[in-house]
Amino acid sequence: MTIIIPLLICAVNMDWTFKPDMKDWETKNINGKIEAVQLQGSTCIKLTTTSARKNFTVIRRQINDVKIGDKIEITAEAKADTSRAKLVISGGFKWGEKVNGGQYVEKKYTANYIWTKLRIVVKVKKLPLYVNLGIYKAKNKYLLLKNVSIKPFLGNIASKSELKSTKINLPGNLPEGNWEQIITENKGSLSKTNNGIRLLADTADSWVALRQKHNKFKIGEEIIFSAEVKAPTENAQLIVTDGFIWGEAVNNRPYHKTKHSGSGEWEKLQARLTVSSNMVCVGLGMSRGCAKQWLEARNIKITREREIIPSQVKNTETRLQKCAKNSENPLKIRNYCKKTLIELRKRFAAFKQAEDTQMITCLKSLRKTLIKAETPVFVSCGVINPEKIKLDSEKSIQIEIYNISRAHSIYMKINAPGAKIKEIDPTSKTKFGLLEGSLFQVPDAEPAILEISANQNVICELLPLDHNSGDAYRKFTIQKWR
């Protein structure tokens, strides 16, 4: 994570608590009620809507001491029984007024009756800037407001002074080394589960994370940091940084971050990085703004790419062989192999440049396997892929060509200069010519039968038009009769 701290930090830094007379707050109320209530010794504001269909009940206040370009963070703690209860930051107009070209950012409360801190980070574009809290178009609902705080935004993760990192030992199946547990102002927790770890953020202010520094990787190496992560928030993330520690403000350094979808299900997250400095940091956690959210992680791994490529290649080769034997669905395998090959091809140039002979050999082997899998297979007189075939006394031969690489029919081209080629319908034994350009079709379920006649030796070449590797053609020679 690269953080740029602005040189001129805006001056605003306020905690607004409510008073019974609602001093400093402006109200607008259509078919609703706004009242001050006492709860556990402090004053709260309760906004209630009545049953009327058109209602708009809001309190708002101008934020002074900000100027255009300032980046501020507004947090409002409240609870509601409707998701139409909102925290709205409006610039250049008050929420509820019709103004074109104003600035508008909103976040909604959840209808869960739980005290929730909503946080909005906003860059001021229009002045005056207002904080608005209210309910729009909801019948018989309430919003109870506790407090509002406004401070300059320093980044999604904690500033250095806030950090309290502790070195911890993770469960046995996690990567070795010193992991740092980072929990801002003790507003969160980390616990070990059977398979991995669980992080919990108590408040929206919490930055709860794990990180680990490394200096063992060589420059130019590709590393992959991966983990299976389960979280109900999109702020759950996995990161690899290069030349700086996650959480420190550094400019123009590479990093790669992957976020969870927030589905609450296990997802495999992976971040790749080509190392360009002596220090690499890997991190896993939730950025700020995740009040009462959690993250579970297992199978946390840091791998060098070159360590996994041989197994990837072997796996691909095995699957291609299975495909050739028709014991697996060819289309599914094709897609898998294509994906692997495209990924590996991208790395080929880098390995070549680094003169990594082991990797180059490995990738070349995969390429060969792929070509082998896509090269046409034919049978003549019971022999598979004969290099030489002798014409019979009729000066012709028959070959059966199979499609073993695709789950649908493919077109092939046969180059046989000087030879006459006919295709045969196996049912009616009808013979007919090929398409222009010596093209013919090979279905997935049955062979194409060709009859080749010639008066001389002919070098034939079979080329499939549906292939993903170069050189996927088969050559054979037809020898003349006597």
Partner: protein
């Protein structure tokens, strides 16, 4: 029973598909220009077309095999009243799927069916039958055909009705069409003839030759003897009947070679001395050489108005200006072609046009799409000049490009932008497959093959993209004819709206079909032909 009644009865009985017999299901493809794989489509529409007398209408039929076994079917075209159809007037093709460098499967090549006109359809799959007519080989009037599709192991025949109306009108107002590297790809004999026929019939009229015209010079740049015109003569003889303009890259000899650090000039005298670019000796050499080329071509029935020098590719810079000034000083009416591609070339365009140092400009289409200010300056530079205006596109993998949006639409763009025509790189590639290996294999070279014709010894197979080029050229000719005849504001407005409609949806076949029909209707109305 008359033909139409018979057709409608057939449609009525067959439900949503056009017709079925056993495992075979036949219907019209709603978009002949889609290069996606043919699929079973349940769309029914009676196919009738009205065309000019020199057009090439296309009908596309899908044949689906609903069984699990492969079937073979014969495809035969018959005229309803059993009149024999001239063989040269139609051609039956099919589409073949080919894997592109992007990994997609495109139905791009359109080879002819075999002599027996048999297609194979694997179980559960569809095949396309592409039927194209050459209307110039048919008599104007109404032609009602049936395309008979029959499983070779079964008797029942599926009859697909087609109606073609040929108007007694033709339009030769075709756009300038340039496809690069028309050295005819180094082909010879029958293949060369086939290729030339294919290019000319699709509207190519600006040919680009990469032949050299070597000459010898002394140290002062004086030409010794006459240049060697052997290569030029060969190509000029072949292209003479067909070329609106012949572009000569022969001026390569005099180009500035900045990237060669050892010497600035490329030209050498017989004594081995380098003649520096722009030097007095270089100017003398170029002037004498240009005069000799002009004189020789004029004697071969190629006056200066029918050919142009093409000194630099995708560049209009100071080198271009020096070249143009020298050539124009020697032979004032010789034409010079430039195809600016980068922004840096733009600044020279105004200068070149105003000083009449460029005669044919062909910028990339992107320059016309560029932000408004740039477009305005380009138009300003060209507005009052007599420059011949073209535009072009290039790129790969072209097999993945949409035939409608990238090929047919270019002619409509030429109409919208009021240019003389357009060009693209490339239909044929150059000799010895320099551009990305074989057209049949996108994986035999780091760069995929960009050609839109599949050429090999004795065979030239068009692609769907190439046929879209021809359809666009015919659209241009039709609209230009209607434009010529339209005198009322309403008619002119109809033409304007048709062009705008296609420009707004260049990948929508329905829009092309409907707007083209409007143009045909307008032409018939203007010419007093009954519908």
């Amino acid at each position: 029973m008359n033909f139409m009644l018979k057709s409608y009865m057939l449609l009525f009985c067959s439900g949503i598909v056009l017709s079925t017999r056993g495992a075979l299901v036949v219907n019209f493809n709603p978009n002949p220009w889609s290069n996606s794989n043919p699929v079973k489509i349940s769309t029914l529409k009676q196919q009738s077309k009205t065309v000019l007398h020199n057009e090439h209408p296309v009908f596309l039929v899908n044949v689906h095999n609903s069984s699990s076994k492969r079937l073979f079917a014969t495809v035969k075209l018959e005229e309803f009243n059993k009149v024999k159809i001239p063989e040269a007037s139609f051609c039956l093709r099919t589409s073949v799927n080919i894997r592109t460098k992007n990994g997609t499967l495109k139905a791009d090549p359109l080879p002819r069916l075999n002599k027996e006109q048999i297609i194979s359809i694997p179980g559960g799959e569809s095949r396309q039958v592409w039927l194209e007519f050459d209307a110039s080989k048919l008599i104007p009037g109404q032609h009602d055909y049936t395309l008979n599709i029959q499983n070779i192991n079964n008797v029942p025949v599926i009859q697909v009705p087609l109606n073609l109306r040929i108007l007694p009108l033709a339009s030769n107002l075709k756009p300038d069409l340039l496809v690069w590297d028309c050295s005819l790809r180094g082909t010879e004999g029958e293949t060369r003839e086939l290729l030339l026929t294919e290019l000319v019939s699709s509207g190519v009229n600006i040919f680009h030759s990469i032949c050299e015209i070597p000459a010898k010079f002394d140290d002062n740049g004086n030409m010794l003897g006459i240049p060697d015109f052997k290569e030029l003569d060969q190509i000029a003889k072949v292209l003479k009947p067909h070329a609106r303009i012949l572009l000569l890259r022969a001026a390569n000899l005099f180009k500035q070679r900045k990237h060669r650090s050892k010497h600035k000039g490329y030209l050498k005298s017989v004594s081995g001395k380098l003649i520096a670019f722009g030097s007095p000796a270089w100017k003398t050499a170029l002037s004498q050489w240009a005069q000799a080329v002009s004189k020789h071509l004029a004697a071969s029935s190629f006056p200066n108005s029918k050919w142009a020098f093409y000194p630099y590719d995708e560049y209009l810079g100071s080198g271009f200006v020096t070249f143009a000034k020298t050539v124009k000083a020697a032979v004032p009416d010789v034409q010079i072609f430039g195809n600016p591609a980068g922004r840096s070339s733009q600044q020279y365009l105004g200068t070149l046009a105003s000083k009449k140092l460029i005669d044919i400009i062909c910028p990339t289409a992107a320059r016309y799409y560029a932000e408004k200010a740039e477009r305005v300056s380009l138009y300003k530079a060209l507005k009052n000049s007599n420059v011949r205006k073209l535009f072009y596109f290039a790129g790969w993998p072209q097999k993945d490009f949409s035939p409608l949006k990238m090929y047919r639409a270019q002619s409509w763009k030429a109409l919208a932008w009021n240019t003389n025509g357009w060009g693209y790189w490339t239909a044929t590639g150059v000799a010895k497959n320099l551009w990305g290996g074989s057209p049949w294999d996108d994986y035999d070279n780091p760069r995929p093959n960009p050609e839109s014709l599949y050429i090999e010894d004795g065979v030239v197979i068009p692609s769907r993209r190439w046929r879209a080029v021809r359809a666009g050229v015919e659209d241009y000719a039709l609209i230009s004819l209607v434009r010529q005849k339209a005198t009322t504001a309403t008619a002119k407005n109809t033409i304007k709206n048709a062009i705008a409609a296609v420009m707004a949806a260049p990948d929508n076949y329905k829009i092309y079909a409907s707007q083209r029909q409007k143009m045909i209707d307008l032409l018939m109305q203007l010419e007093g032909i009954k519908k």
